[in-house]
């Protein structure tokens, strides 16, 4: 009965009402994942489960037995930040920093979705592989709100990482 977070096992919570988000922030002490709305409306709580992005506030922790969860803390550290994290600093892709971990987790998974050929509402040709355009990035990142208005810089950071990987 365990849940794997950033490669480390944690026992499932006793209270079945505990959301994955609250479990991460409280039981696991991983407060990098943020609570902005608790209703799946803002994306601040985005984490990766098996590499796929989800809103952790909309998921109960007990449903994740055996799952591998990656949080912002699993994408890099102060000493060794990940490429997306470094790009956000370089492009000033944040201001207050509260939506930032969610943006970075979301962007990381989003690039994999494009690489896997998943279409979006912004994809013009459904028969072709989706192109990595600004319109695609914006559409696919629209579940992550940023009230400070760092969007243009976030798009620039993602484009930077995607270009380096391409």
């Amino acid at each position: 009965m365990a849940i794997s977070i950033n490669g480390q096992d944690y026992p499932l919570p006793a209270d079945p009402r505990t959301s994955l988000l609250d479990f991460l922030r409280r039981e696991a002490g991983l407060t990098g994942t943020k609570k902005g709305c608790d209703h799946g409306q803002c994306g601040a709580c985005t984490v990766l489960v098996g590499g796929v992005r989800i809103n952790s506030c909309l998921s109960l922790a007990v449903t994740h037995e055996g799952d591998e969860v990656t949080t912002i803390e699993g994408l890099g550290t102060l000493a060794a930040p990940g490429a997306m994290q470094a790009a956000f600093v370089a492009h000033d892709g944040f201001q207050c920093g509260y939506c930032t971990p969610g943006q970075i987790c979301s962007a990381t998974a989003m690039l994999q979705e494009i690489a896997a050929g998943w279409p979006s509402d912004a994809t013009e040709d459904l028969d072709a592989a989706p192109a990595l355009t600004d319109a695609e990035i914006r559409e696919r990142m629209s579940g992550n709100l940023c009230r400070c208005g760092a969007y243009p810089n976030i798009v620039a950071a993602i484009r930077d990482v995607a270009g380096a990987e391409a």
Partner: protein
């Protein structure tokens, strides 16, 4: 050591320009960037304390009344529940910015739907949340609760009269007389309001999400009937403020009371719905703009009247007319602000109170006037820039408005011509462009900061000032670095703790010029002391890369310090320099939109903003502030609207699914130009604020672009598809 300045005169020395380090204004990354992107910056709700309890607020399901009884027994038997707090000191409203005293008490007297009235405290959040939902309340009504600002009693808040506007309108070659409405706005900072209170029997320590600690400390102490010295507030990272955290809000007082009563740390985090329902709203407005102009487009009359609202007992009235006082000329003037008393939640400061809704309406009226005159809208604006404040006569300390209009037009690719809508169509989309001026009054307040030069070639900056995403850590490091000859990496900026000297707080765009000046003054004190130790004049001293240089000599800073740290407190106070002049930041917005001919949907395709903000302290964070403001323009113009139930007064769209802030896909490439400017009257560092200007008028550029695209003049913000379609002439 300390240095005090009350700025009664413009400071034209431009000291920062004479320094050698070359970091002031530079495009450098934020020092706290890495901890934010790695999730290691700790926000208010993320602190932990041994034995911590969790509290959940209970809110009133009634718009006006008195809580007659709270049936504590209904929840005290539930698992983990430790207490129901309904102390008379609980606050029903947030404090207004810079209030420095307790907000409305007691919370049991309900004045708006969703007002917090009690706190349920339990061992875990899940237990507290469950019990809070089940707490039984009884209440009785306490009188009428007017909900409609148009039908409520009004009070006159302010007015300016000069000449005879009615006569000017009657005599004018061209006139505009329009009434434009805006809906209420929410700050909607991404971090919900949160507090963790700890009481040791004498001292209360609260980790909270706050913008102005000096004032907040006084507000909390007054609310609890404690001495200020018994209260410590800690707020090093704030997940957005936008006015919503200017004053203490209800969870701070509730958590404190619970911690004091129970003798255990208590954390209270508002739900997103509670933040919407109980924190400041920007008032809705109804604005009438009248313009009278001669045949050449010179304004002879200017009228701006507005109706705003607030709760009974609140002094704040959205200062809609603030920049209308001086943005454009016209000898005959009437500016009038009325305040309706209604029972919606407290109206207060939401980013750029006043101009955020007051400039865009004037800018729409100017667009209409330009069309009547057959003039290019930029030419009309340039023709009407007054030589001095039209009512007071005070000269402008500096005004880059003309340059912003001209440089912005060039960068945007503005075609100077009279507007004639429907000139361009792409498929089912009409394409158009619009322009608007930007203006935001300048403000500075008292601020202190301590700067310590350390023997290891680093410096420490300490103030209770906050960084709410605005870039305080960045700019204070760059100011101190420039003055002390150190790289910003070697400056340790510590903020957000009332143990540090009291700063200005973040709000009103005054943080940078106020706290920046305090740091500057402290550094001037340190430089003077270093020069004295070297027996040279301060003007002969150059500090660069940890070295002190003068004509004929050079020595390491560390040697001068003799192994001891050297500190100085800078104390800045505003004086008559900002009263003897009209001090304001200015700018210009340009927008290109596409409007769907069938659905009325508007998409902003690109925007350019050109701004004059005095000295730019950090090119990077100043630009980001402008990007943020322009993003708010898009929400303001197209989507943001608080919607209240006309029957029971509750806020119907109290979450982020129903209150529509701009998302990634709503925000195109945005271009920002920062014009070189020094404003000697604004502050001793010649800087003005930048946090709000970017949203003061830009929604008007979008409105004007909608007209240019499709011919729809919409007189109600936000310009949602239904409103655009209704205003669109037949195809």
């Amino acid at each position: 050591m300390s240095v005090h300045l009350k700025q009664d005169k413009p400071d034209t020395r431009n000291v920062l320009d004479t320094m050698a380090q070359g970091v002031i204004g530079a495009d450098l990354p934020r020092p706290e960037g890495l901890i934010k992107v790695t999730g290691t910056a700790i926000y208010a709700a993320e602190y932990r304390a041994d034995g911590m309890l969790e509290g959940v607020l209970v809110t009133a399901p009634v718009v006006r009344g008195e809580i007659a009884s709270i049936n504590e027994a209904s929840v005290l038997g539930m698992p983990g529940v430790r207490a129901v707090i309904s102390d008379k000191r609980m606050t029903g409203r947030p404090a207004q910015g810079t209030a420095g005293e307790a907000p409305f008490q007691p919370a049991r007297e309900v004045c708006y739907w969703g007002q917090p009235v009690a706190l349920v405290v339990a061992e875990t959040f899940e237990q507290a949340r469950d019990a809070a939902k089940r707490l039984a309340l009884d209440w009785h009504g306490t009188g009428d609760a007017p909900l409609d600002p148009e039908a409520a009693e009004t009070e006159k808040d302010e007015s300016t009269r000069k000449g005879d506007l009615a006569h000017a309108m009657a005599e004018a070659a061209h006139t505009v007389d329009v009434t434009i409405t805006t809906e209420g706005h929410a700050s909607a900072a991404m971090e919900p309001h949160a507090a963790l209170a700890q009481w040791d029997g004498r001292t209360l320590t609260v980790h909270a999400s706050l913008q102005m600690l000096k004032y907040n400390r006084a507000e909390l102490a007054d609310s609890l009937k404690l001495e200020e010295e018994q209260v410590r507030l800690v707020s090093p990272y704030v997940g957005g403020g936008f006015g919503s955290k200017l004053g203490i809000s209800q969870e701070v007082v509730a958590a404190s009371l619970a911690a004091m009563q129970l003798g255990r740390p208590v954390r209270v985090v508002m739900s997103r719905q509670q933040v919407f329902q109980t924190i400041m709203r920007r008032s809705e407005t109804r604005q009438r703009i009248r313009l009278a102009a001669d045949a050449e487009g010179r304004l002879t009359g200017f009228g701006h009247e507005a109706l705003v609202s607030n709760l009974p007992g609140e002094d704040f009235a959205e200062p809609v007319l603030q920049s209308s006082q001086f943005l454009y000329g016209g000898d005959n003037r009437l500016l009038k602000l009325d305040l309706a008393r209604i029972h919606r939640m407290t109206a207060g400061s939401v980013r750029a109170p006043g101009e955020a809704v007051g400039v865009q309406t004037v800018e729409q009226a100017m667009d209409i006037l330009a069309e009547k005159l057959g003039m290019d809208p930029i030419a009309l604006r340039l023709r009407n820039l007054p030589d001095a404040h039209p009512a007071k006569g005070t000269p402008f300390s500096s005004r880059k408005l003309a340059e912003c209009l001209e440089e912005g037009a060039k960068a945007f690719g503005w075609e100077p011509r009279p507007r004639a809508p429907r000139h361009t169509r792409e498929g089912e989309w009409w394409i158009g462009t619009g322009v608007a001026s930007a203006a935001r009054v300048h403000a500075v307040v008292e601020a202190k900061a301590r700067v310590t030069l350390r023997p290891d070639r680093t410096a420490l900056v300490e103030t209770d000032m906050t960084d709410i995403g605005t870039g305080t850590y960045t700019i204070l490091g760059q100011i101190a670095g420039e003055m002390l000859g150190l790289m910003p990496d070697d400056i340790d900026v510590r903020l957000g703790d009332t143990d540090f000297p009291p700063g200005s707080g973040s709000g009103g765009s005054w943080g940078a010029p106020s706290c920046g000046s305090a740091v500057f003054l402290a550094c001037e004190g340190l430089r003077k002391d270093i020069a004295r130790r070297l027996d040279i004049g301060t003007d002969d001293l150059t500090l660069k890369d940890g070295l002190a240089r003068w004509d004929g000599g050079e020595t390491a800073l560390a040697d001068i310090l003799g192994g001891e740290p050297l500190d100085c407190i800078g104390h800045f106070e505003p004086g008559s320099s900002i009263e003897d002049a009209t001090v304001s930041s200015f700018g210009a917005f340009f927008a290109e939109v596409a409007v769907n001919r069938w659905t009325g949907e508007t998409r902003v395709r690109r925007m350019t903003g050109a701004f004059g903000i005095g000295r730019v302290l950090s090119a990077r964070t100043a630009r980001s502030q402008c990007l943020g403001g322009m993003t708010w323009c898009i929400g303001n113009a197209l989507t943001e609207s608080l919607m209240f139930d006309p029957v029971d007064g509750h806020l119907a769209n109290c979450d982020l699914a129903e209150y529509h802030v701009p998302v990634h896909r709503d925000v195109p490439a945005l271009e920002v130009l920062l014009l070189e400017e020094r404003d000697a009257a604004a502050s001793p560092i010649q800087a003005k604020g930048v946090g709000e200007l970017g949203l003061c008028g830009g929604a008007g550029a979008i409105a004007n672009a909608i007209y240019d695209a499709c011919g729809a003049r919409v007189f109600a913000y936000p310009m949602t598809p239904d409103r655009v379609i209704a205003a669109m002439p037949d195809i």
